[in-house]
Amino acid sequence: MMKTTAVLFAAGIAFALTPVAATAQSAADLNDLEMAHVAYTADNIDIRYAHLALAISDNPTVRAFAETMIRDHTAVNEQALALLAELDVQAQDNFLSQQLLENAEVIIDELSGLRGAAFDRRYAENELAYHQAVNALVGDSFIPNIENEQVRALFEAGLNIFQAHESHAAMMVESVN
């Protein structure tokens, strides 16, 4: 958990630790349906970043990456919704989903004010940091604590995809710097 927290901070995902500590909320304590909500939210945030990149950037590398993010995260979300329907359950909103959304708003505001190479660099850096943070969260805090085997299998498949995205993002960071 310490490692995850450190990575999240390093990524600029400013988790508000004080209120979290006050209510004893921890990522590792979320139930399967709450973790599913976090993952679904995280997917949709990256899709929003990608749409912003397609609206602003002219860089072919950045645009291709953004298109892949939309394609892959949409595919993962479709699988997640199918599994939730099969299990006849609904994802549950929670503190961590809310924190992710709040932080995403800040980053989207920042990205929206940038143009050209400045946007491309910031988008690339954020994609690398975001995937690093989410992968640490999923790998260290979520997967070891998931109870349902089908949910766990989907998270493992998702982590495999997002780790590939992390490598891809690292290539993009080098390309735009």
Binding site: R71, A75, N160
Partner: protein, 136 residues
Amino acid sequence: MVRITRRDFASRTAAGAVAAFAASAALPMGSARSHDGAHVDDGPTASADGPTDHLVEITGFAFQPARLQVRPGDTITWVNRDIAPHTATADDGSWDTGTIRTDESATVPVTPEMVATYYCRFHPMMTARIEIVAVR
């Protein structure tokens, strides 16, 4: 990781030939040559000189096998076992499967001049190659 697809293999009409070729593709080049291609014919449904459909699985963001021996006239079928969509695309773009979604497949014919190195257009770190070993 690939095990869950075995039952899917069994449903393929050329399952035996695919399995035989998948095994032979794992052999070193020298070994394959010493058999003069005879290993290709070991499959129960493959004729002596008939074309073979080779199967490449895309799983865990990798093409498996990453190196595949083929002959002109054969076909290569890529099947996607990942959640993410993929492509198999020649490095120079001269051939391309197009988008292959989860549990879908796409087939490309093998030609003598076919560009051997390929990648996934969506995930460029995914690379593999084919080896055209003999003219039929």
